[in-house]
Symmetry: C2
Subunit: 283 residues, 2 copies
């Protein structure tokens, strides 16, 4: 991996647990459950985007770490709640038992709530100006909220009972997947106090997010494994357009994302590499 990306990832892994509050022994299961789901790794795509946008924009990436943690906390809470029996009812997450299998449903629910809550504690702890932090709170709560990630989850749930149109699927992916990716890129600009790059960052991220989701759908289809989305017959780009056209769509959104990067002031070479690796991944 590129040195810059490796350095980002090291910073993220070294710092992320420090944003989980230490609690008294009598209710320490909440701390354990928060850490359990944060540990289940993944690619840290969103915090990496925070740091890389901060770097491109000329900011100090260490100061962006609280913003990076906040976005990962939101992503992680959404996975915990998504896995609950009343949602996708997934027993496994990244090869480990889901939070509710490990800790029980009630504690998993509360661990998700705590990660969501402490995403904002993390934002507020940043050593940046109060104005930057308030802007970050607005961005993160908007993109994670009813007109962002949560709205996308609602459409996803409704899609279990009916076939989605391509427009509905696009809106779902834009909200459910692209919104938090967009928040990550914008938070990186804010951390660097570079507001000029925000419009291009948004265009990049929205298109990257859709491409990312289509490729997820393609991989899920190809694996044809024990996949709850396929079993439940949810609409995806593959089910609506077929495999080849889904790949064409992914390439189209990728091109638009990369074009948007041309308008970002700063050296975006590393980000282009990172994006291409994400979109050419096999898992």
């Amino acid at each position: 991996m590129n040195n810059i990306l490796e350095s980002h990832l090291n910073l993220i892994e070294k710092s992320i647990m420090t944003f989980v509050p230490s609690v008294e022994k009598s209710y320490s299961v909440i701390e354990d459950a928060m850490k359990y789901s944060l540990e289940t790794g993944g690619k840290r795509v969103r915090p990496m985007l925070v740091l890389e946008f901060c770097r491109i924009c000329g900011g100090d990436v260490e100061k962006a770490l609280p913003f990076a943690a906040a976005v990962e906390f939101i992503h992680t809470y959404s996975l915990i709640h998504d896995d609950l029996p009343c949602m996708d009812n997934d027993d496994m997450r990244r090869g480990k038992p889901s939070s509710h299998i490990k800790f029980g449903e009630a504690d998993a629910l509360l661990a998700g709530d705590a990660l969501l809550t402490h995403a904002f504690t993390a934002l507020a702890s940043a050593e940046l100006s109060s104005k930057q932090i308030v802007d970050a709170v607005k961005i993160l709560s908007d993109y994670a909220g009813a007109n962002g990630m949560i709205g996308g989850q609602i459409i996803d749930l409704e899609g279990e009972n009916k076939n989605l149109s391509l427009e509905e699927l696009f809106l779902m992916d834009k909200l459910k997947t692209a919104a938090l990716i967009t928040a990550a890129c914008v938070l990186g600009c804010i951390a660097a106090d570079n507001y000029n790059n925000i419009p291009s960052a948004i265009k990049f991220a929205e298109n990257l997010g859709i491409a990312f989701q289509i490729i997820d759908d393609v991989l899920d289809f190809l694996e044809g494994e024990d996949n709850s989305d396929i079993i439940s017959g949810k609409s995806t780009y593959v089910s609506l357009l077929g495999l080849e056209n889904a790949r064409v769509e992914a390439a189209k959104y990728t091109d638009t994302a990369l074009e948007a990067l041309n308008l970002v002031s700063g050296n975006t070479e590393v980000l282009v590499d990172f994006s291409m690796k994400l979109l050419k991944r096999n898992v």
Copy 2:
């Protein structure tokens, strides 16, 4: 009701729904579900405390409305999640079907998540200095988080499987009930930019919160109604100390709360009245 309190309540009722984001028709159930639970009224104790502390501290109560809404959003999300089958499994809330009975478990879960998320959107929308808003984000996320309300819920869950000691019960009530009441009082001080009053506000609120919870326990016991806490045999001040001693404890915490108010600079007469009505209530 006192004119000042009536005016606060009118302001709260007139403004609270404006902090719920408007969303597109295809996922409007999230907006409906957020509003449904916010409408189920209650006494608005926490937002009233925000506004009254702001007024006592010499602030403009209208500017404190976003903070008041934020605290009520947190309280409301906690009730929705608390009522879920994996938690208290309560079908009714304030005489109406619980959110998950009305909207289904998945949408209720997401409505709670959205209220929690948009509590922070509300804070960030206040027309106050960025420093005041960042302080509010810190306070609300701390008191609502793992070392606040959520920690209290964890102890509450553990109390279903064992008898709590008086110390454990105190810690549970301090976190589960008093923490958000404390956040409300502190947010009122912050909205008025009066940081000197915060230590006394905290002492008042922590004691008021415990007294409030003990009286809840007393009323639940006296009603002996279809009460899930009694049915599940949870530890309360009444089960541990008996009815009369529980009342003595409530009076003790009330006295300590009112003493703390003597140290608050500003006219606290209305707040004393409000507190006494809360603690002498029959429902």
